[in-house]
Each structure stands twice: as C-alpha cells, then as structure tokens.
Amino acid sequence: MTPSAPAPHVDVATPERVALSLPVAGIGYRCLAWAVDASLLFFFWVALYFVVTLLVSDVLGAFQALSGLVQTLLAVGLFATQWLYWTLAEVFFHGQTPGKRALRIRVVREDGSPVGFFESAVRNLCRAVDFLPVMYATGCITMLLDARHRRLGDLLAGTVLVREEAIDLDKYTQGPGPAGPAREPASVQRPLGAEDVELVLAFLARAPGLEKDVRQRLGARLVDRVGAALTEEERARVLESPEATEAFLRHRAQAAH
C-alpha cells in the first residue's frame, strides 16, 4: 500500500532517464546484519584459537620460539577482522558482506552506483570511530540523527545502505477463482484504478487468514467501493458468502483480461 509518510530513500537518475528510488536500510536491519557478521568473525576467531593452541602447545616446544611470529600474526588477524573482512566482502560481493546478504541490504554510493575499493576502505576504516566509546554508540547516534540512517563512515565515504524487499507479483496474475456469479454486472463497469486494484489484491491475499465476520465486513466495504454500479439484488447475491464476494472482487481486479 502507499505509505502515509514517505520512507527515506535514495534517488537515482540513470542514464536511461528513469528515476529510481531505492529504500534505505534502517538501524534495525543494520544492527542485525552486523550481528550476523560479528558472530561469523567470532567463530572464525574461536576456530583459529584452537588451531593456534594446538600448534603452540606442541610437544617439542618448537613454536615457543616463534611467539614473536604468533604475535605478529595476531596483529595482522586483528587488522583483518577489523577491516579486511568488511572491505573485501563489500568490494567483491557487490556491496554485501555475508551478514548484509542475509538481511538483504547492500552498500551503494549515494548516486546508487556500486561501491568501489576506496569508498569501502573509508567506511570500514571509520568503524574504529563509529565504535566509540562502546558498541557503536557513536555510529548509532549518527544513524538516528541522519535522515538516511548513515553512520560517520558512510558520511565520509558517501555511501548508503539500501534494502531489497521481497515483493510477490503472483497476486496480480493468479487465475480468477471458480466462475464468479457476478460476471455480467462486472463486464459493464470500467476497469479499476491502480490503487483500487492494489487494495483488492491485498485483501484477497489476506482474506483466508481473517476472522469470519471481519472477512465479511471488509469484503462488503470493498464491494461497495469497487462495484458502485451494482443493483440492489446483484449486491445481495455477491454478498451471499465470502467465496462469492471474493470471486467478484478478483474478477473486478482482473477485469481487463
């Protein structure tokens, strides 16, 4: 349905002269995606810890002498978790880390084009500041203040996270139900506007899950809205049972077939 308040979005003017507008991912999506990534990294570290422990607690003590090397590796590993993982994933998987992919969100530049290496490097280097003082407090405050839910790193890099929705187009193309009784009156009426079609289809998709009397009442209100030219007795026939009502509505929504 048409939202009452316009949700934040990124406007893109493509070279094909079409205006795209991509919905922006809110703080909830971002936190969840981060949680997924953080747990992945956590398990990576646990696994690495056991491997290193097995190696270091070796019987011969040969690795003890290399504790300097282990520490260097630890520093490199820390760097990897802090920065490399995020940047490489964003550059090579089209703006998505595994967590972002799970939540169906994606990093793009502010003009909607895919991120490059430098943008990704900037926004992920700034993780250190956004993390301040604990648990992304700075980043979260910035996200809440910014109209497009960007954290400091995004502001500096000129990137924004957009969301992909799962939209089901099947509802438009479902075949009409059992032959509707209201075939003749519907055929003389003109086709519905896009908004009414959406309304009817949304109702039809939800109808099976509704309470019986709610289903009847909503159906009747929709029939009154979209079937204005019905005579009194046709209307009574359409409203006889929920099935008849919904068959009529479905037929109305797809009148042009």
Binding site: L74, L78, L125, V129, L156, E165, Y172
Partner: protein, 336 residues
C-alpha cells in the same frame, strides 16, 4: 490510457523474470556475451516499464518491484572498474606519493604536532622527575625501576610480554585511529598525535634519566623512523578530513567531506604495506640483542631514508605527472 495493472503485470512479467534470472547468474558467475547483450536489452525494457509504472501505477507493489529490479540491474551494469594489478602498481608508483606531496602541508602540521608532544613529554619528565608517574604507564615504570627494558621479554618464554604485544597492536590502532578520528572535527588526530608524542617523549626521557638511553635507542631505532612517519602521514590524512568539515569552502559539508575523504584514504591505504613491513621489523629485529645497536640504528636510518626518498621522488619525472586528476582548487590550496 494505460491498461489495467494486472494486465500490465502479466503481459510484461516474462521479461522481468528473465532479467531477474540473468542477474542472479551474473552475481554468481560469468555470463556469456550474448547473455550480457540480453541483460542490457532486458534492462532497457524494464526501465521503460518502470517509467510507465511511475506514471500510471505509482505507489503500487508493481512499481516498487520494478524500482528494485532496475536498481539491481543498474548496479550490475554500471560496475566500477575492477582494481587490477596494473592499477595497484600505478597507485604505488605515482598516485600515492603524488597525493602525499600535494597534501604535504597537512603531513607537516601533523609532524609538528607529534614533535610538540615529544618535546613536552620529554621536558616534563626531565625537569620534574615525578612527572613520569603521570605520563609513563605503570608497567613500563616498573621495568625501568628494575633497570631492565620492558621489551627484553618480547622473545622470551615468560608471559609478561603483554606490554610489548600491546605496543605492537597499539601501532596499528594508533594509525587507524589517527585517520578515522579526523571526522570528529579534526580533534581526534590532534589528540592522538600529541598524546603519542608525549608518551614516547616521556618514556624516552625516563630511560635517559635512569641511564638506559642506549637500551631505549636500541629498541626504537630499527623501526622508529618509518613507524613514526606512517603515524604522522595518517594523522595528516585525519587532519584533511577535519579541515573539510571545519572549512568546506563552497561545497556542502558532506560533499567536501567525501572529496577530501577519498584523497585522505589514499594516504592511509598507501601506508598499509609499509606498516605491515615495519611490523615485522618491530617483531623480529627490534627486541632482544640478536643484532648490535649500531646495526639497528643503521637499519632504521636507511629504512627511513628510503621511505622518504620514495615518497618525495617516486612518479615525479613520469609522464603521469602531467595527469593531475584532482581539482587543485580544493581545500588544500586554501590552507595557504
């Protein structure tokens, strides 16, 4: 007049599904040439469908679906050029040193701040012995009081090398933080630089007072010059970011921030391999006494000289020097 929405959707849907399938395949692997052509055609059709949906069916699910589909296809088609080895080589051969020379003022200011911290820290400890209690971390003071270098344990088996490993990871954090905290109006880099300068100055002065100046030099000489240079450079990058926020010039702040940010991050990314290399030196050569002090000093000085020779000379004589793709009227020239 437009056809009704369900008719529109069922008529055009095969194309959309085909485009979606192609996009999924494009993401997972490679497409053949004819498939790419088909992707292009389908994208153009979907774009015109989107234009139609915007006009006749605004706000419907079909409109949002097309919006998203076109967005994904747009992202797939207008990919940024892949960073290849050639461009990486170009970056280190020309772009990184050239950027550094262009932004030399910020690096200079950053170096000034670090030196200021160094002098302050050293003066306080030299003039007032009790100042050390304030400025030098307790772990280090305990070691110095025993007349030992805290770094002696770095390669030994005993656990208390936590201090030394702290120093190693500290460098990385300091470097990243000196840049990233530039977004806090430039206060972050100033604080980081002065603070670290004070720390190093105070520790050095304390060692000097306790007659351990040679030991301190022994530890710091091999990696110090390059490492401090890297911290200074990334601090300069942080200052660039802060300056874009304080004085964005004619641009809106966010835009100035993005322009300067892209330049600044080149400095940080360029330093990364050198930071890794110097980390190895710090881990293996600096601690312990496998190498005599004079060798460490010589190594440190020559590494530092090579590093700065590279930064100041590389790419200067190349043809590419004429190719300055950054508008020169951006913030750096206004600092004069």
């Amino acid at each position: 007049m437009a056809s009704p929405l369900p008719a529109f959707v069922s008529r055009r849907r095969p194309d959309w599904d085909a485009l979606q399938a192609l996009l999924t395949r494009q993401r997972s692997g490679r497409l053949r040439l004819e498939e790419l052509r088909r992707l292009d055609t389908l994208y153009r059709r979907a774009a015109s469908d989107l234009a139609q949906a915007q006009t006749f069916y605004p706000g419907t699910d079909a409109h949002r679906f097309l919006n998203q589909l076109c967005g994904q296809a747009y992202g797939a088609i207008y990919q940024p050029p892949r960073e290849r080895w050639a461009s990486t080589r170009d970056f280190f051969r020309r772009d990184f040193p050239a950027t550094l020379r262009r932004e030399a003022r910020f690096v200079g200011v950053s170096a000034g701040l670090l030196v200021l911290g160094l002098v302050l820290g050293a003066l306080v400890v030299l003039l007032e012995p009790r100042g050390a209690e304030l400025l030098v971390p307790e772990g280090v003071r305990r070691y110095v009081a025993q007349g030992r270098m805290w770094t002696d344990d770095l390669l030994s088996v005993a656990p208390p090398n936590a201090v030394a490993s702290g120093i190693a990871t500290n460098n990385l954090t300091v470097t990243l933080f000196a840049f990233a905290s530039g977004i806090l109006l430039g206060v972050g880099p100033v604080f980081t630089l002065v603070n670290n300068g004070v720390l190093i100055g105070a520790v050095g002065a304390l060692c000097f007072r306790e007659g351990m100046a040679v030991g301190f030099l022994d530890f710091i000489a091999a990696h110090g010059p390059v490492e401090l240079s890297i911290i200074v450079i990334s601090g300069g990058a942080g200052l660039m970011v802060g300056q874009a926020l304080i004085d964005p010039g004619e641009l809106p702040r966010t835009q100035a921030l993005q322009m300067r940010g892209r330049e600044a991050v080149k400095l940080v990314v360029g330093c990364a391999p050198f930071l890794a290399g110097i980390g190895v030196v710090e881990g293996f050569i600096s601690p312990g006494d496998f190498f005599p002090t004079w060798a460490k000093v010589g190594l440190g000085l020559s590494l530092g000289a090579l590093f700065w020779l590279y930064l100041l000379r590389a790419g200067r004589t190349d043809v590419g020097a004429a190719r300055v793709d950054v508008p020169d009227d951006s913030a750096s020239s206004r600092l004069r």
